[in-house]
């Protein structure tokens, strides 16, 4: 014996289905509403209630947390009924569904990027809408997420001891997000990574790399004269300078010490283009 709902679903009384569907919707029984609407949207195309039906249909998906479907249906609504009073709302909701589908920063950010694009499109289409303020706020949240991702992934290289990679990654991150809130910290970490990179390099390469660290440190001091990392950055500069002196002394000694000289020649060979490409650091 079938329940009332199943009988209704199997029937062909579209008008009844529509009314009952709306009732279920208002009773917040979205699962049942969706089942009825799913059947109807095809059949109502080109008929007078189609617009309202589709509006409810999109929201039903939204309330069921199927944001991927909801986002699509809101967009279809906006594209089909560009003159409707609900079009602006649906465009916003479509973008908002992307926003809700944007995951934690350490996962793939495809939806974050799409959410930003969709929100921006909304702002461009309805610059006078009262939803613009909210949309701008959401865009800021999404951008923060991308910045956090970039910052964390760059810092990972420093954590696992790939100092050269860290320097490059921090540089890229700062180029991608020049006004990021992590700018100061990342600039400082660049100094640190460069110093550690130099320190862990073969002696023949150290002086150049220490010099780069000194340059980074000076740039940092100029840019952030009141930074809480200022002391540390200056300390790293001092250590780099000491490192250069130590390297020079080591290389000078090698000129008179045959064993050391041979070792350096071997290192130079390793660094030469003919040799196997490998990292130019001693240890990892």
């Amino acid at each position: 014996c079938k329940s009332k709902f199943e009988r209704l679903k199997a029937s062909n009384d579209n008008a009844k289905k529509y009314q009952e569907g709306i009732k279920y919707y208002h009773k917040k029984d979205f699962g049942k509403a969706l089942e009825l609407f799913d059947d109807l949207v095809q059949r109502y195309r080109g008929q007078s209630d189609a617009e309202e039906l589709y509006y409810y249909y999109a929201y039903t998906n939204y309330y069921l947390k199927d944001f991927t479907s909801a986002r699509y249906h809101f967009k279809v609504f906006a594209d089909s009924y560009p003159n409707s009073s609900r079009t602006e709302e649906c465009r916003y909701m479509s973008a908002y569904c992307y926003y809700l589908d944007s995951p934690n920063f350490s996962l793939d950010q495809e939806n974050t990027q799409k959410a930003i694009d969709a929100m921006q499109l909304f702002i461009n289409l309805y610059p006078k809408s009262e939803r613009v303020a909210e949309a701008s706020k959401l865009i800021q949240n999404l951008r923060d997420k991308l910045e956090t991702k970039s910052y964390n992934n760059s810092k990972l290289y420093l954590t696992i001891g790939d100092y050269q990679s860290a320097v490059i990654a921090f540089g890229n991150s700062l180029r991608d997000y020049p006004d990021t809130k992590y700018a100061e910290e990342m600039e400082y970490l660049t100094v640190k990574a460069q110093y550690l990179y130099a320190k862990n390099s073969f002696e023949v390469k150290q002086e150049d790399r220490y010099n780069t660290a000194i340059t980074y440190s000076q740039q940092f001091t100029e840019k952030f004269p009141t930074s809480k990392y200022l002391k540390d950055a200056e300390q790293l500069k001092k250590q780099s300078e000491q490192g250069i002196i130590a390297t020079r002394r080591y290389l000078a000694e090698a000129a008179t010490n045959e064993r050391l000289y041979k070792k350096i020649q071997a290192e130079k060979y390793k660094l030469s283009p003919q040799a196997q490409q490998d990292t130019t650091t001693k240890k990892k």
Partner: protein, 831 residues
């Protein structure tokens, strides 16, 4: 038919030349009417048309053609016209004339099986609600015919009848009668024009189009058009690879032989056989021509084969010793080699390879895409491509392998791509596209052991995240994404036997270095409380508790496939009136330190096709007898084994290699030995080796015995020669070895399931002392089996083995035996 030309109405009202694309004019829309509607709402159609009364419109112009487009896109009409009913000086009146068509309410399929109906319904799903016209009928017929043609039913007929849907006005039901007819096979393939090649050889070149012959045991003998077309392409390639550079198929025809079969006739032109002349290089700056020639391995006079030449130039080759690997592994990402045939004289062809080396590229960014569950760092930290490194194809291949080894991603879909290639500053970004796959496993089983039913429930989460344990948002349905592993397992048959275990592991302890950390704990209880009260003299009780911690790390030397692990484990045994053992009452401690040195270079965890897995293990306990003042010469068993002492050594190795096609050979050898520090203490009863059977950790094990499978024999039935133990009371032996050869062939290799079949020959034996040890005196067996890997259940296996050697005193221990196994040899195990 779409028409946006104003028609009859126009000519009456205004002169025909007043509307012209050369002279568009702007009008105000004076009114819109709709004609031809039967079921649709006119206002809605006007709304869809986006024409508004009072708006300005340029005629002719884009706006008027958009009306047609917008309406047509609805897919509701057979015809849409936009007519102008009246045109005054500044106003235009439109009439939208449409022809409605009945819509499709459903498709009713007959003449085929239920499963087939479902398959086809799925393919036709998107047709619901569309209008029924010739196009719909044709596409429906074609989809069905194509579906069956691909399966070898070439003569399928489809008849479609329309009938009104009584329940829904303006809708029709399609009754589709399908007659598959019989499958068409290939009777005979004949060739014409072949001189150098025998028909047999030529038939072999048609890989998937094969004659119906009794000796074609495997593979399809059906005729399938698309496979045949592919085969034809390969066919000429194969002829050309043999030096027949001009070879081609002149004509071919497939014709009916009888109702069930077709004949194929192929006419070919072979042309002369060509040979390589001089091979020169130009444009090569990095490596001299002589060096490139040695890598190319093509000499003057070799049979000319473009395929071979291209392979040596652009790869891929099995061990990457081609020229493209040389360049691509050294940063020359945009390397190109274009072989040009410079001179052809008689049957000899000179080739000049024009090289473009380009700049050496450095990696700038490394990005991960598609990780919806697993956090970036879990993938990024293990990659061999890092910012600042020189571009290398080899490093990318290794990184890809390591990503798949994580076990959270679909092996087939892990796809690295160099993007953002920037020749100016010589940098490139590398994007790893990944697709998550379910990696959690559940083990739910009921088994019959020792005359009792034993139930097991095990859960393994392979991508666990401990730090998110208290973060409700990260639950889906458990905290995931940090690449940690948590497994919980419980096994019980009720009151008499219970075993619970817990394992947690983290591959990067502290997040700085790949230091493996694992924590395990278990507790096990066996008794006969269900049969005897605890006061009964027959009552016995055994309880084992254990905990352990493991630390390990990948080594850089000799290469980074080496791993060194240390574990510290404590097991505590408490016996009460326990029969058939060394002592009946008392406690025993097994405190051990294990060092495991291993190297794993298998290319895949579930179905390896190449690589090796070696493991050397040493396990020691403190030498208590040196300092505990026990007089072991007169000590009771309880005193003797309160603190167990022994040292144990084990060496295990396995190799996988491709033999032929997809056939893989697994060869394996294992050896284990346990010794004692003090002659007076003697051999420890714990941790011995028990050989025979499926190798599953059985609930019978009490003293931490190491269980080694040997198919074709009953579980634990292998006892030393001359011993009178049986599989029931086998206490285990201190020495064992085992050899195995196994041929494996895949049946299905996909994301959702991996299935392979195997045939094996193996042998192993145990000894009580080195004086008896004879490594080649083994108990032998052979057999066949199959393994199924399902992502949620793990690896399930069934083997049939035949043991050739009788075990004295155990008449049913050898001969034919079935073995069932779960989740073995997944974690680098050797069973």
């Amino acid at each position: 038919q779409v028409s946006n030309q104003p028609r009859a109405a126009l000519s009456k009202q205004i002169p025909p030349d007043s509307l012209s694309y050369l002279n568009p004019r702007e009008y105000i829309i004076g009114g819109i009417t709709v004609s031809g509607t039967k079921f649709l709402d006119k206002d809605v159609l006007i709304q869809i048309s986006k024409l508004n009364k009072g708006d300005k419109i340029t005629i002719p112009g884009e706006a008027s053609s958009n009306v047609i487009k917008a309406l047509w896109d609805q897919g509701l009409f057979d015809d849409v016209q936009l007519n102008i009913t009246r045109l005054t000086l500044d106003s235009v009146y439109f009439d939208i004339q449409i022809t409605e068509r009945p819509r499709l309410s459903r498709i009713h399929l007959t003449g085929i099986r239920k499963g087939e109906i479902e398959d086809i319904q799925k393919m036709l799903n998107d047709k619901g609600g569309k209008i029924v016209n010739e196009n719909l009928l044709n596409t429906t017929t074609n989809i069905i015919k194509k579906h069956f043609n691909e399966k070898g039913f070439l003569n399928t007929t489809v008849i479609i009848k329309q009938r009104k849907d009584p329940a829904d006005a303006n809708s029709v039901i399609l009754d589709v009668a399908i007659d598959k007819k019989q499958k068409v096979k290939i009777n005979k393939i004949t060739f014409e024009g072949n001189v150098a090649f025998t028909p047999k050889k030529l038939k072999g070149y048609l890989g998937k189009t094969r004659e119906r012959k009794w000796y074609h045991l495997f593979g399809s003998k059906k005729f399938m058009r698309d496979k045949y077309d592919e085969d034809k392409q390969d066919f000429t390639d194969k002829l050309q690879a043999k030096g027949y550079r001009d070879a081609e198929i002149v004509s071919d025809s497939v014709y009916r032989h009888d109702d069930k079969t077709v004949d194929i006739k192929i006419k070919i032109y072979e042309g002369p056989k060509y040979y390589f002349g001089k091979v020169t290089f130009s444009g090569n700056a990095k490596y001299p021509t002589a060096f490139l020639n040695t890598l190319l391995r093509i000499k003057k006079g070799d049979i000319f084969s473009e395929e071979n030449l291209n392979k040596r130039l652009s790869g891929p080759t099995a061990n990457s010793d081609d020229i493209s690997s040389l360049y691509l592994n050294d940063g020359y990402l945009t390397y190109q080699a274009d072989p040009v045939q410079t001179r052809i004289y008689n049957d000899t062809i000179d080739v000049d390879v024009r090289m473009y080396e380009g700049p050496q590229y450095t990696i700038n960014r490394v990005l991960i895409k598609g990780n919806d569950v697993t956090n970036d760092k879990v993938i990024l930290r293990g990659l061999h491509t890092k910012p600042g490194q020189r571009f290398s194809k080899e490093a990318i291949v290794r990184s890809t392998r390591d990503i798949t080894q994580l076990g959270n991603f679909d092996e087939q879909k892990t796809d690295p791509k160099p993007t953002n290639i920037n020749p100016q500053d010589g940098t490139v970004d590398i994007v790893y596209n990944v697709v998550e796959k379910p990696s959690d496993q559940i083990e739910l089983s009921g088994g019959f052991g020792g005359g009792q039913l034993v139930g097991t429930l095990g859960l393994t989460f392979n991508n666990f995240s401990l730090r998110n344990l208290f973060n409700g948002k990260a639950y889906r349905p458990l905290p995931k994404g940090d690449g940690q592993k948590l497994s919980l397992r419980g096994q019980s048959n009720g009151q008499d036997y219970q075993n619970y275990s817990f394992t947690f592991s983290e591959p990067w302890l502290g997040g700085k270095k790949p230091i493996y950390f694992a924590l395990t704990a278990y507790t096990q209880l066996s008794s006969n409380v269900s049969s005897y009260a605890s006061t009964d003299p027959n009552y016995y009780h055994l309880k084992i508790n254990g905990a352990g911690v493991t630390l390990g790390r990948q080594l850089k030397w000799p290469d980074d496939a080496f791993q060194l692990n240390y574990s510290f484990n404590v097991d505590h045994y408490s016996l009460q009136n326990y029969p058939g053992y060394l002592f009946k009452n008392g406690t025993s401690w097994n405190i051990k330190l294990t060092q495991e040195f291993s190297r794993n270079s298998l290319d895949a965890p579930i179905y390896p096709t190449s690589g090796s897995n070696l493991k050397f293990t040493v396990q020691v306990t403190p030498p208590y007898s040196l300092f505990n003042n026990t007089n072991y010469k007169i000590a009771t068993a309880q005193e003797r084994y309160q603190f167990v002492e022994y040292h144990k050594w084990k060496f295990e190795s396995q190799w996988f290699q491709k033999i032929y096609g997809k056939l893989v050979l697994k060869s394996q050898a294992q050896f284990g030995f346990m010794g004692y520090y003090n002659k007076d203490v003697g051999q420890a009863p714990f941790e011995r080796f028990k050989l025979g059977g499926d190798g599953m950790q059985s609930y019978q094990y009490l003293q931490g015995s190491e269980i080694i499978g040997l198919r074709g024999y009953k579980n634990f039935s292998i006892v030393p020669v001359g011993s009178t133990y049986t599989d029931q009371n086998n206490p285990g032996s201190p020495i064992f070895n085992k050899y195995m050869l196994e041929l494996r062939h895949p049946v299905i290799a996909s994301q959702s399931a991996t299935i392979f079949v195997l045939a094996f020959a193996e042998g192993g034996n145990v000894w009580n002392s080195f004086s008896d040890f004879a490594p080649f005196n083994v108990r032998r067996s052979a057999g066949v089996g199959a393994r199924i890997f399902l992502p949620i259940f793990g690896l399930l296996g069934l083997d049939y083995g035949y043991g050739f050697d009788t075990i004295p005193g155990q008449p049913d221990a050898n001969k034919g035996q079935f073995h069932f196994s779960i989740s073995q040899s997944l974690t680098g195990g050797f069973n």
